[in-house]
């Protein structure tokens, strides 16, 4: 039972990140890989504050603001430069955040990470914390659904499908891109605070490349511009490997197996079924 609670909480947090990121990637057509770094920004902000006596709730708010703010900075180049270049910047950004985490030891405790993070009072019980996480997920889903099903969401899709035409129809493309990225960033920041409180310990390893590919694969395999697709993508990709946990595989092998499978699925989807499981759009055509 304890294992089940753990699994649900973890998946709920992943899903928060994935559906947030589905908005800039699937609806706005921005292939950004910054999600893992924004998660790290959120988690570290929350962790640092919480280990200095701040309550979880303030930590959450701070995490959201920090991640949103950093997203804003990262989004600025999106106005002037071509899409492929933008993706490259987001890749480079992963390395920058990683370097900051590992080297700014006075604040982030470097490779050792931050330990002893406490759960919010009243939610120390794993079941209660799980419920809180799921609640946060549902709120995120509800909020984002409202955004993408509104005319604003359509405007985002117009930017994805043809940004030149969108401009000539009076849509401020740069502003739309920035808002899309910042919105995702804010929710990912919140997810980061949950990561910190859930694991009660964070370090650079938590936020590294295999998660980047997992999140991207979940969105693309599930299908762009579809929350249901993102949810299914997350569940499928996460759960195919869970059983392996219980088999005597050497841990290093599992890592490369996950990495290999996610990237292979991503490749196959791009080659043979660009809309994924139930996407409404495809990138780059």
């Amino acid at each position: 039972m304890g294992y089940f609670i753990y699994l649900v909480t973890l998946i709920a947090i992943y899903m928060m990140v994935i559906i947030s990121y589905a908005v800039p990637v699937g609806w706005t057509g921005l292939l950004t890989l910054g999600h893992i770094s924004l998660l790290a920004v959120g988690a570290y902000t929350a962790a640092i504050l919480m280990t200095h006596g701040v309550s979880f709730w303030f930590g959450l708010l701070a995490a959201a603001l920090a991640a949103g703010g950093v997203s804003f900075l990262l989004a600025l180049p999106a106005r002037r430069i071509k899409e492929d270049y933008f993706t490259l910047i987001t890749i480079g950004f992963i390395f920058v955040v990683n370097a900051v985490i590992v080297n700014w030891t006075s604040v982030t405790k470097g490779p050792f990470g931050i330990t002893g993070i406490e759960r919010p009072s009243g939610f120390e019980d794993p079941f209660a914390f799980m419920a809180l996480t799921v609640l946060a997920l549902l709120f995120t889903a509800f909020f984002l659904q409202r955004v993408v099903n509104s005319p604003f969401g359509r405007a985002l899709e117009s930017v994805r499908d043809d940004d030149l035409v969108a401009e000539s129809l009076g849509k401020p493309v740069a502003k739309l891109r920035i808002v899309s990225l910042v919105t995702a960033g804010v929710f990912v920041g919140v997810a980061g605070a949950f990561v910190a409180a859930f694991l009660q310990f964070i370090n650079a390893q938590v936020f590294w490349l295999d998660n980047v590919i997992f999140i991207l694969a979940a969105i693309v395999v599930g299908g762009l511009a579809s929350f249901r697709g993102a949810v299914i993508g997350t569940l499928v990709l996460y759960l195919i490997f869970e059983p392996l946990r219980f088999l005597p595989f050497p841990p290093g092998l599992i890592g490369s197996l996950r990495l290999g499978t996610f990237s292979l699925l991503l490749l196959l989807v791009v080659l043979f079924r660009p809309k994924g499981i139930m996407g409404r759009a495809q990138l780059g055509e």
Partner: protein, 246 residues
């Protein structure tokens, strides 16, 4: 004079695509921009609607200097254009494409979040426009299913639905079958009747002769001559520029 272009210049690498180009467009009239390939017509369109920024020169629209405005600001100011090769929001339906053209406030995040939205809010307006322009198609169709001719009509309808005071039409009858061509001639004149101001680029001289009030001839990036179609088509220099360029 709704559009006044002064001394526009634009180079790409070492090539001067447009040089010291100047002309104006009168309100309520149809003005045609013609010239041989490479004369700079589409570049001028891109400069006017904001996709390109000029190296030199100024553009005045309804009396305001819009030279430094971005494309979306110019669109909000009243410019609406079509494209040589039809561009569509291919993952969306016909209805969704049109609604995007009509709405001008959909970039307001919180306003859109808190308001009630109805997919079919603009259906009657869209249907009226489609009927006026002779475009018959189910609103729920995916735009990718449109034929070439239908795409041309779609482009025109979208530009028409986009709130505007001037239409920029980039080769409205290029590659279009003769029946649609004749239909589009009539549509142009109907639009003029409704008070529309149109600036168009075309290669089809018959079409230009039938609809244009004024013709501007471009050659190598600047204006060669301009005037009424009759006069321009009999101008020796114009014929030379079209036939003589080896």
């Amino acid at each position: 004079m709704i559009l006044d272009v002064k001394d526009l210049s634009k180079s790409f690498g070492g090539v001067r695509a447009v040089r010291a180009c100047g002309f104006n467009v009168s309100e309520g009239k149809i003005t045609a921009l013609i010239g041989p390939n490479g004369a700079g017509k589409t570049t001028i369109f891109d400069l006017v609607n904001g996709f390109l920024s000029a190296d030199e020169g100024r553009i005045f629209f309804r009396g305001y200097d819009i030279t430094n405005l971005s494309a979306w600001e110019r669109s909000r100011a009243g410019m609406s254009r079509t494209f040589q090769l039809s561009r569509l929001f291919k993952n969306l339906t016909l209805r969704e494409n049109f609604v995007l053209a009509i709405r001008q406030n959909d970039d307001k995040f919180w306003k859109m979040f808190f308001s009630k939205h109805d997919e079919h809010e603009f259906d009657s307006r869209i249907k009226e426009a489609m009927e006026f322009l002779g475009f018959k198609k189910e609103l729920g169709t995916k735009v990718t299913e449109l034929s070439y001719g239908e795409q041309k009509l779609f482009d025109l309808t979208r530009a028409y639905l986009n709130p505007h005071t001037m239409l920029l039409l980039d080769e409205p009858v290029a590659g279009v079958n003769p029946v649609l061509r004749e239909s589009l001639k009539k549509i142009m004149l109907k639009l003029k009747e409704r008070g529309e101001t149109i600036l168009l680029i075309e290669h089809d001289m018959d079409f230009v002769h039938a609809v244009a009030d004024r013709v501007i001839v471009l050659d190598q990036g600047s204006v060669l001559t301009e005037g009424e179609p009759e006069k321009v088509f009999h101008d020796g220099r114009v014929l030379e520029v079209y036939l003589g360029s080896a």
